[in-house]
Amino acid sequence: MILNPGRKAPNFSLNSTPDQKVSLKDFRGQPVILAFYPADWSPVCTDQLSLYAMVMPEFKKFNAELLAISVDNIWSHLAFAKDRKLNFPVLADFEPKGDISRKYGAFKEKIGESARALFVIDEQGIVRWSHLSPDGVNPGAEGILSALEQLNAPKAQ
């Protein structure tokens, strides 16, 4: 079961390049979108992350950061990100394999890949929205945008 809204988002520190790590807590104070996905190199026209790269300006309107995570290694990620012109960090949950995906309830043990799961985390590091896509379904970007709008909805002071 994936982490539900209201839970504190587990911190992590994962490689975005061979010598750079990205930690969730680096983004405290702004919304973070986590996109776990099964594998690099899905077909281009239906690729979830290519779509997110195009929708990035909309995410930025909410001051949100997007972090994509799969168990592929960093060299695959680098080639994939370059090929698809991805404009956000793509993190390798590679060693121990799937460790962070598991903490979010987004790891498929039997096939050893991350599930296609989305999380929107607020400025305080709390999960405010999560979504698990059925197998083979690219969830698109609409759910994320709606969740970001909800975060931005006026709160009682």
């Binding site: 079961m1 994936i2 899905s42 077909p43 281009v44 026209c45 239906t46 690729d47 979830q48 290519s50 779509l51 790269a53 195009m54 929708v55 909309e58 698809r84 012109k85 309830g105 987004a106 498929k108 043990e109 039997k110 096939i111 599930a115 799961a117 698990l132 896509s133 059925p134 197998d135 083979g136 379904v137 690219n138 969830p139 698109g140 970007a141 609409e142 945008l145």
Partner: protein, 202 residues
């Protein structure tokens, strides 16, 4: 140009014993931007009982493959169907998709949208060479100076981007994405599946 051989239509949820599992049944997203005959490109009877909306990218090979399928659907359903095309150029992976969309919209400004739309899908391999579409614009009798100027000045860019964002908000997750009477069609982008979906959702 993509050379992928994978099929577009693999997104229907399959029964699986793998974890984690989704507990809810899956609801296909709805089209949130209603068809507007004053703005949209509509082919067929505007008052038809069935509506098929496509979000497409002229450079997308899956859209190219779906193009003759849509023609078959139109032939089969005739006056019962109106077909709407909206732009969803995946410009970060398809370098010619935006210019192609602008080319079709520039032809539209002179009343020849569907002619150019069809030409672009029938000549996908030539999208890198804009002179091919320009030659066709001449053949259509368009004012090619105006046509070229509108493309160069990105006159239709906003419209194309509006189409794109409307698609994103409707749950477009790749190209092509079809909506059958306002509900996303998650089956194959093939005539038989589209016709069946149109008939059952009418």
């Amino acid at each position: 140009m993509s050379t992928t051989t994978a099929t577009r239509h693999s997104r229907r949820p399959k029964k699986t014993l793998l974890e984690p599992t989704s507990k809810e049944t899956y609801d296909s997203p709805k089209l949130v931007v209603p068809v507007d005959p004053n703005r949209d490109h509509v082919q067929g009877d505007p008052k038809a009982v069935l509506t098929l909306v496509e979000y497409g990218d002229y450079q997308c090979p899956f859209c190219g493959a779906a193009y003759p399928e849509v023609k078959k659907v139109q032939k089969e359903l005739g006056s019962k169907l109106r077909f709407v095309f909206r732009n969803f150029p995946l410009t970060n992976i398809h370098e010619f998709a935006m210019t192609a969309a602008e080319t079709a919209e520039a032809a539209s400004a002179q009343g020849k949208f569907w002619e150019m739309h069809d030409f672009l899908y029938e000549h996908q391999a030539t999208l890198a060479d804009h002179s091919v579409a320009l030659g066709y614009a001449k053949k259509l009798g368009l004012d090619t100076q105006r046509f070229e100027r509108e493309i160069a000045q990105h006159v239709q860019e906003k419209r194309i981007k509006d189409d794109f964002m409307g698609g994103v908000r409707s749950g477009v997750n790749g190209t092509p994405t079809f909506y059958v009477n306002g509900v996303r069609h998650d089956g194959p982008a093939e005539a038989e599946a589209l016709v069946e979906s149109l008939r059952t959702k009418s």
